[in-house]
């Protein structure tokens, strides 16, 4: 029983490591923030906080140039994309609904001038994930 458990854990370590290496390898190939272009259920962004394999609901900054940024903006717009994947078989993943772009977020919020943006990720078991861009502006 213990051997089986140890083997399972070792396999998990290997899968985790492979996931990291694959993520780094594909990093340069990913041009945008849309999860459909990423080779895993987690979106690739300039800043990625620690993630949760089973469950994740995290918000983090998307724009990283804060010089003279007014934090309290009157308008907020968001756009969301949904992502369904088969664990360890990312080739079979499906991205559905609208693209999560800053452009669309601004349009949804009636924003004429974007000042900065955050993003939110939601993930359950790597099978279903949601990626939301929140744009703030005036």
């Amino acid at each position: 029983m213990q051997r089986a458990l140890a083997a399972l854990m070792a396999a998990m370590v290997l899968l985790g490591a492979v996931g990291c290496v694959a993520g780094a390898k594909n990093q340069a190939a990913r041009a945008g923030f849309h999860p459909a272009y990423a080779n895993r259920s987690m979106p690739f962004t300039p800043l990625i906080p620690p993630q949760g394999f089973l469950f994740q609901q995290v918000q983090a900054p998307l724009s990283l140039d804060f010089d003279n940024t007014e934090a309290n903006q009157p308008l907020t717009g968001s756009s969301t994309t949904h992502f369904v994947a088969f664990p360890f078989y990312q080739q079979l993943s499906v991205s559905v609904m609208d693209p999560a772009s800053v452009e669309l977020a601004a349009r949804n919020g009636g924003i004429k001038e974007i000042v900065y943006a955050d993003y939110e990720t939601f993930n359950i078991l790597g099978v279903y994930s949601r990626f939301t861009v929140n744009a703030y502006g005036r």
């Binding site: 213990q2 458990l5 140890a6 854990m9 070792a10 998990m12 370590v13 290997l14 899968l15 985790g16 490591a17 996931g19 990291c20 993520g23 780094a24 987690m42 690739f44 962004t45 300039p46 800043l47 990625i48 906080p49 620690p50 993630q51 949760g52 394999f53 089973l54 469950f55 994740q56 609901q57 995290v58 918000q59 983090a60 900054p61 724009s63 990283l64 140039d65 804060f66 010089d67 003279n68 940024t69 007014e70 934090a71 309290n72 900065y116 955050d118 939110e120 929140n134 703030y136």
Partner: protein, 108 residues
């Protein structure tokens, strides 16, 4: 002894599953313990240095569950900052069991 080996494997498994944190600037990180602070914003042209600080935190436990709002907006709100000048982040990790990430914004 067997239990210790099993615990080690479990810890490694957790470390493997933690998901790789990524940031524009990443100082060397420890596999066992990390407690660092680094720049998040890397454009410092004419940046005014001010006294106010705001933080927003997210957390990951065992690399399995991650929760928190570490957005720039929340950090600014927490520090009652209306104009952000620049930002750092801090990262704390013990064996991948507990990982804590903070967005730290500075402004006025």
């Amino acid at each position: 002894m067997k239990h210790l080996a099993l615990l080690c494997v479990l810890a490694l498994a957790c470390a493997g599953l933690t998901g790789c944190m990524s940031a524009p600037v990443m100082p060397p990180m420890g596999g066992i313990f990390t407690d660092i602070q680094a720049p998040l914003d890397i454009d410092y042209d004419n940046t005014v240095v001010t006294g106010k600080v705001g933080k927003a935190e997210s957390m990951s436990i065992l690399g399995m569950v991650a929760l928190g709002d570490a957005s720039a907006r929340t950090a600014a709100r927490n520090g009652q900052i209306s104009r952000i000048q620049h930002a750092d982040y801090s990262y704390f990790n013990v064996l991948g069991v507990i990982q804590r990430y903070n967005t730290i914004v500075y402004g006025e």
